[in-house]
Point group: C2
């Protein structure tokens, strides 16, 4: 009876695997709006200033600050209101001495205004004039062009996972498409003469295949794309064919069941046919999960997981998930 | 100048809202395979036993345990191997005295066998016989029918969120469709004369709408479905129309911007037109996020979030997310 003589710990197993494989670097362009959870592939720099124009941060009046210097409740500055610049409008009005323009939160200032007086700090003088009750300093209540982001600023580097607020930041700058890493594709093969699809009523002695779907769900949770190859019996040729289909279409391959040492267990033999260096280790020092195979074929990781659904998920979390997250 | 005189804390705001709204109870049937993250709507009971037949948990021989009683290395029990029952096969063989059948992990036992002897505890005697070196107790190395789950057992109750392992457990029992709660639909309206779609180059004084997309991404992260109604200007009729479109198609409505107190801010008026009881509170005691409106129209929550993107996300997390998760 063969036995596992050279078991490795899960971290040793990962260390054995790591030098043979590399993270996905292939890039694809995706709409920013639907990029939630994707991983950015290249540095993204801002094409423009944000805000793109000096904005009022208050409702009030845009003014030349120096026209308010010395103003007080007892001796207010009298300014004539010469324009009203609604939010979303632009204006080419320029203020002369002692003039002001109505300003709105998020709206533009008059061309040569350098500050905004909050409406609470003013009172109407007559139909067209206001009294300013306190001075403002240049720049007060103004968001300058480029204050949030300057054209050319680096926004995100490679490896950053896109969050809701990142989508907003990118769209604010007109960046409607971004370079993201292609999702890792993970092929899944379930082996066993006793398996039938979950839709079928198993004949006596048979059970439904479930590992395909638990593993596919975990792959998706890891941000990767499951590629379901299907069910194969405990026969060498169909398994080899399924494995070849898997590594042709995917970046990694998972076999469930067939990873132990009986005559039915041919995963190791199959993996050794797929490419160099083949099986790196057979058996890890955990329970459940001992009968696990880790292999590499031409840079693609291959995992032989135990058929027991609990063992399969345990080993998935210890070895497959960290590989997907490289 | 109007002011916020009756601000409420975020938890008070949620307490004000809670009695007026109810969680989604509408149920839909979804394929189990694609139910990851969905919320189960009704109790699910098992239609059958799992396993459905007594299974060997080892490679070895199924036996009648009493034929091994007293066996030892020095005085082994001699059993004749009368059948081989591969995994995935069934057999109607019945064992007579001192007979055994080859058994495989996950495979069936002979009809009247009540235990399995591990292959390591046997040695070949001749071509058709084995010696059993240690006794087995009845039930040893056997997974009984129904040992994991019995027909009629409750598997999941309402409110459970489906995980990968749940998909496997359901499929193992042939449950290929399950009742889940319909996803909460959240309508999103972005208001402001200064807004243009993110694809457009904003004219001077304008900015790109980003709240629609940050909020939509957060809604999706909460397991709900964003319904993007679109951009509307700071005009009452278009806003009322957009709000009506929103609550007709969705379970909750979010307005971004227009929630403060200036003349441009008409969200509160719009919300009061949509149904009873209308606006519950205007202003919450946080910064950023103070100019927030919470309203209800005929059992549907309505949120007026500040236009500032940071404020909008803060208030979303404090008030909208918990409402979605009811």
């Amino acid at each position: 009876m063969p036995e596992f003589f050279n078991v490795r710990s899960p971290s040793q197993a990962f260390d054995d695997l790591r030098p043979h494989i590399s993270a996905i670097t292939e890039c694809e362009i995706t709409p920013t709006k639907s990029a939630l959870g994707r991983v950015i592939a290249d540095e993204i720099r801002s094409p423009e200033d944000l805000p793109s124009f000096p904005k009022s941060s208050m409702d009030g009046f845009s003014v030349r600050a120096r026209d308010t210097f010395g103003a007080s409740e007892s001796l207010p500055a009298l300014l004539e209101v010469v324009a009203d610049i609604p939010t979303g409008s632009s204006s080419d009005v320029e203020l002369s001495v002692a003039e002001a323009a109505v300003a709105y939160t998020g709206g533009m200032l008059a061309g040569n205004a350098d500050a905004v007086v909050m409406i609470e700090r003013t009172q109407p003088a007559d139909e067209t004039s206001i009294e300013v009750l306190r001075p403002v300093a240049p720049g007060e209540n103004v968001v300058h062009a480029g204050e949030d982001v300057r054209a050319g600023d680096a926004l995100f580097g490679p490896g950053h996972t896109v969050r809701p607020q990142d989508i907003g930041g990118l769209l604010a700058l007109g960046i409607t498409e971004i370079p993201v890493l292609r999702k890792t594709r993970v092929a899944i093969v379930s082996t066993g003469d006793e398996l039938v699809p979950p839709e079928d009523k198993p004949p006596p002695g048979n059970i439904r295949d479930i590992n395909t779907y638990t593993i596919a769900a975990r792959v998706a949770q890891c941000g990767a794309e499951p590629v379901i190859i299907g069910l194969v019996p405990d026969e060498y040729e169909p398994q080899l064919q399924a494995a070849r289909d898997g590594i042709r279409t995917a970046d990694a391959l998972i076999f469930s069941a067939g990873s132990s040492l009986s005559t039915r267990d041919m995963t190791a033999d199959v993996f050794n046919q797929l490419g160099e260096p083949g099986v790196l280790l057979h058996g890890i020092s955990i329970k459940p999960g001992k009968p696990t195979i880790v292999a590499v074929a031409d840079g693609k990781p291959l995992f032989g997981l135990p058929g027991n659904p609990v063992s399969a998920l345990v080993v998935f979390d210890l070895l497959v998930a960290p590989t997907i997250h490289l």
